[in-house]
Subunit: 309 residues, 2 copies
Amino acid sequence: MPRPDADLADMVVRECGRRWPQGATQPPGRLLRPMLVLESAMAVGGDPVRILPAAVGFECSHVGGLVHEEIIHRSGGPADAIVAANALLFEWFRALSECVDRGVPPERVTEAMRIQASTGIDSCRGTELELASTLHSGLDGYLRMARLKTAAPLAAACRVGAVLSGASPEQTNALAEFGDALGLAYQIREDIRTYERNVEAVTRDGRGDVQVRRLSLPVLIAHDSACPRDRARIERLLTTRSTPDRLPELVEIVRRSGACGTAIRMAEQYAAHARTVLTALPPSGHRVRLAGMTSAMNATIPLRRHVDG
Amino acid sequence: MPRPDADLADMVVRECGRRWPQGATQPPGRLLRPMLVLESAMAVGGDPVRILPAAVGFECSHVGGLVHEEIIHRSGGPADAIVAANALLFEWFRALSECVDRGVPPERVTEAMRIQASTGIDSCRGTELELASTLHSGLDGYLRMARLKTAAPLAAACRVGAVLSGASPEQTNALAEFGDALGLAYQIREDIRTYERNVEAVTRDGRGDVQVRRLSLPVLIAHDSACPRDRARIERLLTTRSTPDRLPELVEIVRRSGACGTAIRMAEQYAAHARTVLTALPPSGHRVRLAGMTSAMNATIPLRRHVDG
């Protein structure tokens, strides 16, 4: 008969296998932390099966930390920034925990935690899709990417607000759908901005190359609708290594194609959908302001008071 | 009278100011996400004061994501790794949320979330201290760093296991103290390994330079107790940019100083303390195995079964 601790390790190994399927980026490590969780729990009479997810979660965070450390030590580069960013991601959850102190029922907070964590993972997947995106990703690929990377966090913001408030499932889903549509409208408008702004301004702020490298909707639409010669030019511009003058050429092709008009209409459709789903909520000033966010994305927050005193 | 939404924004700005004191790495962004949380909450009758921490948490994660994105786009380097690491950090919390499905009372899960998030932040602070550490950090500086970076996650693993199991505060604290002492013993032994292993092996695995660059306890002790000439040599070796042959010289000085013996005695003291605090728990096989982890850190998990079939 296997020793009890070997049984526990076996349970942890199987759970890790379930969560890290083959081909995943990182294998689990030495499993010290999950074993500490489980042994500590059982030392005070806990049920290891109930606690297993939390135990395996510790391995996730541990391996994540190791990867970051490897990056830090190898590149010697933006170590402080990576560390500071991590601290902020953790702060996401520490802040949420304070809602309990403020009287939110714990079962709502745990549901919110689940939403936050899933959204964080979705957002990472969206970034992975973005890094892998090409002109052949197509509109579906673009929307899948934008939904995960940009819309999911906004949908989650709405959903968490609703869940922590004890909203009905209908209201919660309406708010999440609002956030999703808002996020897509927002991402598309953001994409368009590069091609609407003065080229010199984009180049000057040092983000021009980033804007070009990232596959954006206007480029995708322009590529789809362009004549063979322009298609070839777009492909060449996106695959060439960074050159200072490829942005003006790309902007010129995109503007000429009328792609921004098509993209603006798509953004408006998402914004309109966002306003429509809000009608599932009772009328209120808050509903009005949520609806207002669909048209005034760049002036959402009235910070003027703080500037004026 | 200010508009209600301006009041909300004001509340968010003040909360951000409280959490991101001056001198912090990142200022808050446009506050879109916190406003979405609060407006969504109030659209269904929620109390914004109760939900404020969760709202501001969304800004933390947002800014954290922006920083990572900046790193990714600027360095063009290990983007996939950074993204994968983030997904794992989020998985920490998603996994924890599954404990609710398995019958752990939500109030215990929220307490565990708080512990996890605080520990994540502590660990980041430990890494920051490590990046900033010098020979002048002294033993206190070393222990503060090791405690935050290495011991805090182990203490949290124990604490979370206890909390999710409904342990008494005394048992919970004993387990956390155990994890802390275990973590310090572990870090010190890890530090010593570089100076006990065959120099060629350390150099060959490509980690030699990392081991040297990181301020470790044996070097600190050797520096404290060395003759003026060796002190100067240690200082020169640690401040020089990477050279392939500085590791053998450092190893030679450290070995000659007897610093490893002093460090081993420190590790043993922490391990002994860890075993002592465990006596606050009822006797069990789990307590025995926890105690066993203090002496057999490199053979914690009986994975042999999986290899043997």
